[in-house]
């Protein structure tokens, strides 16, 4: 818990960078909103969304970019693996994975305030957005949002840990960014993906980061099923992360000295 607080405070130091990020997210939100409006004017009710809901979706997804680190990164781990500092992290009497998760939750909490709220407010002022139907939906959305951050962490942690084996992490982070931006629903809502591609995209873990929390907010999906879907992927990714940490520990021991 204290680590979450430290993560929050550490990132709060860089308020100007967060403000710049929020500004950029807002500009892109406006551009994307216009494209979606044009599409929904041609096809009203597409994917079960109305125009206002599509615009809401657009600004919600822009506001997830910071907390969920949709473009990847956010963890110090790859750099610490390259420099060997990770050896220090591994001898600490705390699990490397839990340690990173706490820091990441603190980071996400700060970025939620700094980078999620402003674009959503601007979107509400310029275009008008939908608010959740009631207190229960708000609560469900908050749970879904946190689960989304955990799933995002689970994925980014795996990508970061892979640096132990591939050394140069740039290729992997590009691949991760492509998969995440396209299959999370950031670029377009997954509900309008055609046929089998849509079915596949909605079943993959990336959907749990952006599409599902947005659908919970809009009340477009049964809450229990969505949260279970997110919890499932969070458990799978964190489990894989724990296995990979154990494997990395042995790997580091071999390199040590």
């Amino acid at each position: 818990m204290r680590l979450i607080g430290f993560g929050f405070r550490r990132h709060a130091t860089y308020w100007a960078a967060a403000a710049a990020g929020a500004f950029t997210n807002t500009v892109f939100g406006i551009l994307r909103a216009y494209v979606l409006i044009a599409l929904w004017q041609a096809r009203p009710g597409l994917g079960g969304y109305g125009v206002v809901e599509a615009v809401t979706f657009c600004f919600l997804t822009q506001s997830y970019i910071g907390p969920m680190q949709v473009f990847g990164g956010g963890l110090d781990l790859p750099q610490r693996i390259r420099t060997g500092d990770v050896a220090l992290d591994l001898v600490r009497p705390a699990s490397l994975q839990l340690w990173s998760l706490s820091e990441d939750l603190g980071r996400a909490a700060y970025l939620f305030v700094a980078r999620s709220v402003p674009p959503t407010l601007v979107g509400a002022l310029l275009f008008g957005i939908v608010l959740p139907a009631g207190l229960a939906t708000w609560a469900a959305f908050m749970v879904s949002f946190v689960l989304g951050v955990v799933v995002s962490f689970g994925w980014r942690y795996l990508v970061a840990l892979a640096t132990c084996w591939v050394i140069d992490d740039r290729g992997l982070s590009v691949l991760s960014m492509i998969l995440t931006t396209f299959f999370s629903g950031l670029m377009l809502p997954l509900v309008i993906f055609p046929g089998w591609l849509g079915t596949l995209a909605r079943a993959l873990p990336w959907a749990a980061m952006v599409q599902v929390p947005a659908d919970v907010y809009l009340g477009k999906t049964p809450v229990a099923g969505s949260l279970a879907f997110q919890a499932f992927w969070a458990a799978v990714l964190l489990g894989a992360g724990a296995l990979a940490t154990a494997a990395a520990r042995r790997k580091v021991v071999i390199q040590g000295g």
Binding site: A16, G21, T24, G171, V174
Partner: protein, 262 residues
């Protein structure tokens, strides 16, 4: 200046060629990343036959010209965004005392030739769109003009973003909203955006001249906003004006520079 630029670019290209596998992978990576835009357009057009009054081939033509212009500017000059690191670290001093233009130095520093992947992607989309459109030669001459003007406009935008770093030392990301934002804006027909936004990018920040106004001429379409016909031929003028503003801003920025003093 051009000779120095080419010399430095060649030096960094040879440096990158020392790691051929990494170079090839990053080139493919750039190609695929920008290919995602096309995937998005494809998904949109599986749901509709026209966006903002334009069909798939026309949208691909507008996308291809914008993407090609942006990728060329990105390949050749986008390194100027590195200037923010130099300003914060105070290493811009070193650049100022070298007998080469600071702009050329920054633009070529760690020049990344794998951005050619994006250029190839943009060019491929443009060729594909032209194959489906059947543009007659008497209007087709505009295509190289618009790509060249677009490249100048985007380059000027990068330079303006670089100049702004002298003021925004803590928030380099703000410039991204205009450079990458401009690239995103021009990927779609401007008719999808609101009227004020389109007038803004026509008369204030001339992004409409990258591909929209000359594109209407090539496609032989009426302006959905009813702006004057002669605007279609003004891309080179807009590019020259942008370049002038960028040069002045860059010079003012360099003069404004104060070292970190440590």
């Amino acid at each position: 200046m051009v000779r120095t630029y080419l010399l430095l670019v060649w030096a960094w290209t040879r440096a990158a060629a020392q790691y051929p596998v990494s170079f090839a992978l990053m080139t493919v990576g750039g190609f695929v990343t920008s290919g995602l835009d096309i995937a998005v357009i494809w998904v949109i057009f599986t749901n509709t036959t026209s966006l903002g009054g334009f069909d798939l081939s026309e949208v691909m033509f507008l996308y291809g010209t914008a993407a090609l212009s942006f990728a060329l500017a990105d390949l050749l000059f986008s390194n100027v965004e590195r200037i923010s690191q130099h300003i914060r670290a105070g290493t811009f001093d070193v650049i100022l005392i070298r007998p080469v233009s600071p702009f050329v130095q920054i633009a070529t520093e760690r020049f990344v030739p794998h951005r050619i992947g994006k250029v190839i992607q943009g060019a491929a989309v443009l060729v594909f769109a032209l194959a489906r459109l059947d543009v007659p030669l008497e209007r087709g001459w505009m295509i190289p003009v618009m790509v060249a003007s677009g490249t100048v406009i985007f380059t000027a935008l990068w330079a303006l973003g670089g100049a702004a770093q002298f003021l925004l030392t803590n928030a380099p990301e703000v410039a991204n909203a205009f450079t990458y934002g401009g690239a995103t804006l021009t990927q779609y027909p401007l008719s999808v955006y609101g009227g004020e936004l389109v007038r803004g990018v026509t008369y204030v920040l001339p992004l409409a001249f990258v591909n929209w106004q000359p594109g209407l001429y090539v496609l032989d379409r009426d302006d959905p906003l009813g702006l004057p016909y002669w605007l279609r031929f003004l891309s080179p003028v807009a590019a020259a004006a942008m370049a002038l503003v960028a040069v002045l801003a860059w010079r003012a920025g360099v003069r404004h520079y104060r070292s970190t003093g440590s």
